[in-house]
Symmetry: C2
Subunit: 119 residues, 2 copies
DNA sequence: CTAATAATTAGCTAATCGGCTAAGTAACTG
DNA sequence: CAGTTACTTAGCCGATTAGCTAATTATTAG
């Protein structure tokens, strides 16, 4: 269990469906924006606060928040009349970061070669 | 601000529409898969080679490749009857990586506070 | 020239997405 | 209690997506 607390746990490979949900969720500008707002303007924000920051209707924001929640990107805590949304920064970093890491050309693997020809 | 030359040019901020297109393109499993195949199995791959690796029809692959191309993630070079697709690894890294970087809690910014109450 | 190969384009369709308004629920306020 | 506030749910609808088959284009092979 010797993982440093400061470093994100990138070594735990995300499951395929995690990757699917996270990337799908981040495909929409509004959702990416929500993530950034949550990231910068507080650990926990009520949905009304978030909704007011967009031109579209509140229910539309609710919908987007649901998508983010289903993807595990945010969590909700309900208290009184309010719903407080919190970003799971770690999850985003882990899933997206890991995928990005797969892009690195690890070793010179099998290259495609034209059939027959080539010197 | 000394940037190492080996490090991808993350300092050039992607335009908003670049981010939009790249994230939208990466939202689909097949497209992410195409990117990874291109990343691992060769610098340049003909579309038939790629198409054969999927269960769906070739035109479907063509469509996905178009989306990736429109997002600037891949480039095509046509030669004879073939179309060779090449991955722009740098672009993916730059756009996705930069966005991921925005998640870092830079400084303790304005937090939301409940009106009135709370100790 | 004719046939085969490599790939794209065209066009259809079902499903999902993302917006909206209206209605509903639950908690607080006077 | 009635009214207001905070937010979600329901349900409609137009646009986009992603798949398919069939047709087309262009290059190479015989």
């Amino acid at each position: 269990m010797s993982k440093s607390p400061t470093q994100p746990e990138l070594s735990i490979a995300p499951r395929l469906d995690e990757t699917e949900q996270v990337f799908a969720a981040l495909a929409h500008v509004v959702r990416r924006q929500l993530v950034l707002v949550l990231s910068h303007f507080g650990d926990e924000l009520p949905s009304g606060y978030l909704a007011k920051r967009f031109a579209h209707s509140w229910p539309t924001t609710t919908r987007h928040l649901h998508v983010l929640e289903a993807a595990g990107i945010v969590e909700v805590r309900r208290e009184g009349r309010s719903s407080f949304y919190r970003l799971d920064r770690e999850r985003v970093r882990r899933v997206v970061g890991t995928w990005l890491g797969l892009l690195e050309p690890v070793s010179p693997t099998r290259k495609w070669q034209p059939k027959g020809k080539r010197t």
